[in-house]
């Protein structure tokens, strides 16, 4: 039993590294890292609502509600970013609203709060077969869309005004990027939890951005750093008997600290 859980954890860490390399790198390029943190808490609010609905009304996967919540927020923030240059306030409001929703529903389902707690801190060693399917489908979808629209996303991030002048629909592509981030975040929620999503999605990409000198280099480097952090976290957790995502986050943070000296 342990073997299959361990294999799932290792596969999950590879998939997380793919998300970090693609979505994480572009979030760093765009300077949307606060958005990642905000959307993770939006996903948590959605999951809390999902658990509440499951317990009181009808059966529904909390992660599905988390996905709907996150995508909804992504579309709102995409629109806000198009209207205003600084979206930090909009993200901050979303952050506060999400946490209020999360706390509200968690306080109403106290006896099942451990389920929600699993989404706050996550556990990559407890992934079920259905979790793996959700993770795989989400990551494959994100990666396909990412590479199909790769150059257009890059152009829109680099110089939105010129991209728009040349006929690219900036609002559409920025919203697409935000939605991809939202899907990526929800995919990671069960594995590493809302708090540590940032650690494994953004920190490897931020380190790689400092260490490597090109877009492609940053993407490749983020994959390797995220993979080292994730696999290192799983490996150490077996010996230290602590949460693997926390160790992975620590390794990623140490690598980032080292990158600062470059």
């Amino acid at each position: 039993m342990l073997d299959i859980l361990l294999i799932r954890a290792l596969i999950a860490m590879v998939l997380i590294a793919v998300v970090s390399a693609t979505i994480g790198s572009f979030s760093v390029f765009r300077g949307s890292t606060f958005f990642v943190s905000g959307i993770a808490h939006g996903a948590l609010a959605g999951a809390s609502l999902g658990i509440f609905i499951s317990l009181n009304f009808f059966g529904v996967d909390p992660l599905l509600i988390a996905l709907l919540f996150s995508v909804f927020f992504a579309v709102i923030i995409g629109y806000a970013s198009h209207r205003s240059e600084n979206v930090d306030i909009a993200i901050g409001v979303m952050f506060a609203f999400s946490m209020s929703i999360a706390v509200l529903f968690l306080s109403m389902i106290r006896e099942y709060a451990s389920v929600a707690w699993g989404l706050i801190i996550g556990d990559v060693l407890l992934l079920t077969a259905s979790d793996m399917i959700l993770l795989s489908v989400s990551v494959v979808t994100v990666v396909i869309l990412f590479f199909v629209f790769y150059r257009r996303l890059l152009f829109v991030i680099f110089d939105p005004e010129s991209a728009e002048a040349l006929g690219l629909h900036v609002l559409r592509y920025e919203t697409l990027l935000f939605v991809l981030i939202a899907v990526g975040v929800v995919a990671l929620l069960k594995c590493v939890g809302a708090i540590l999503v940032y650690a494994l999605l953004i920190v490897p990409a931020a380190s790689s951005r400092r260490l490597f000198g090109s877009v492609e280099g940053t993407i490749a480097g983020a994959f390797i750093i995220s993979l080292i952090s994730g696999l290192g976290g799983v490996y150490l957790s077996i010996y230290l008997n602590v949460a693997p995502s926390a160790l992975a986050g620590l390794i990623a943070a140490i690598i980032y600290s080292i990158s600062l000296f470059r």
Binding site: R151, G167, S214
Partner: protein
């Protein structure tokens, strides 16, 4: 790809009628009506906050407006492939570690899956025109401000547009960059329409066909000799600015005006 309007003379490239742009109730430009011939070089001058960039964005169809903007008889959105835009350099996100070749190739390949040899050839020609082809593999964010400006200029001309819309192309440009771009503009204006926002008209005064003095409204529109007068500049900037005349050419003393 050749310019559709190459060799065409005295065609109205741009017709603007009663153009008004509002941002959240604030009127950025009001009731602007002008006609710009093709090919020609038109300089837009005005103090900070006069609506110069807003005017350019309206021409490009990037912002909502009231009134009519017609480019070669069509709305700006329908002729975007014929427009080249150089935004102010500060609008560029230097956090993206693009190489110089990527920056220039993006307009050509952003909608494609592969890169054709022809695209690379055009990108190299555009960089050659601004003297930056040796920086093909350099990181864009590692270049000086002037070098970045030249690369962005190359990106603007790489699609061979009929109309170039340039927002302060000489800002942060060193003398070498300025001279390179001025030389290129002299050549480009023979076949293209160039609309250029400048604080200092002096470097281009000899090849400028028309000048727009803009301060939310058009204060004056005409040739350099007609428009660049001490009275007009005083109305525009709110301060006395001497003008030296040499035949049909006139120079603004203390050229750079940000008032």
């Amino acid at each position: 790809m050749g310019s559709r309007y190459r060799g065409v003379r005295n065609l109205s490239a741009i017709e603007v009628k009663n153009l008004t742009v509002r941002y959240d109730g604030y009127v950025a430009i009001e009731d602007v009506s002008i006609t710009i011939d093709h090919p020609s070089l038109v300089v837009v001058m005005g103090p900070n906050g006069a609506g110069k960039t807003t005017f350019l964005k309206a021409l490009l169809g990037l912002i909502p407006y009231n009134g009519t903007v017609s480019i070669f008889g069509k709305s700006p959105r329908k002729v975007r492939d014929r427009l080249g835009y150089l935004p102010q350099r500060e609008r560029i996100n230097l956090n993206v570690p693009l190489k110089v070749r990527d920056v220039v190739l993006l307009p050509l390949i952003s909608r494609k899956t592969g890169i054709k040899r022809y695209d690379v050839k055009r990108a190299k020609e555009a960089l050659e025109a601004v003297g930056m082809v040796d920086f093909w593999d350099s990181r864009f964010d590692s270049l000086s401000g002037g070098q970045q400006q030249r690369v962005l200029f190359a990106r603007t001309i790489v699609t061979d547009p009929d109309i170039l819309i340039l927002d302060e192309p000489f800002s942060a440009a060193d003398v070498r960059t300025k001279l390179a771009l001025i030389d290129l503009l002299h050549k480009l204006k023979r076949e293209k329409t160039v609309i250029i926002v400048l604080h200092d008209i002096n470097p281009l005064v000899e090849c400028t066909d028309r000048v727009i003095l803009l301060n939310r409204r058009v204060l004056a529109y005409g040739t350099v000799a007609e428009v660049i007068t001490e009275d007009n500049l005083e109305k525009l900037y709110g301060t006395k600015i001497p003008v030296i005349r040499q035949g049909p050419v006139c120079y603004v003393v203390g050229g750079d005006r940000h008032a």
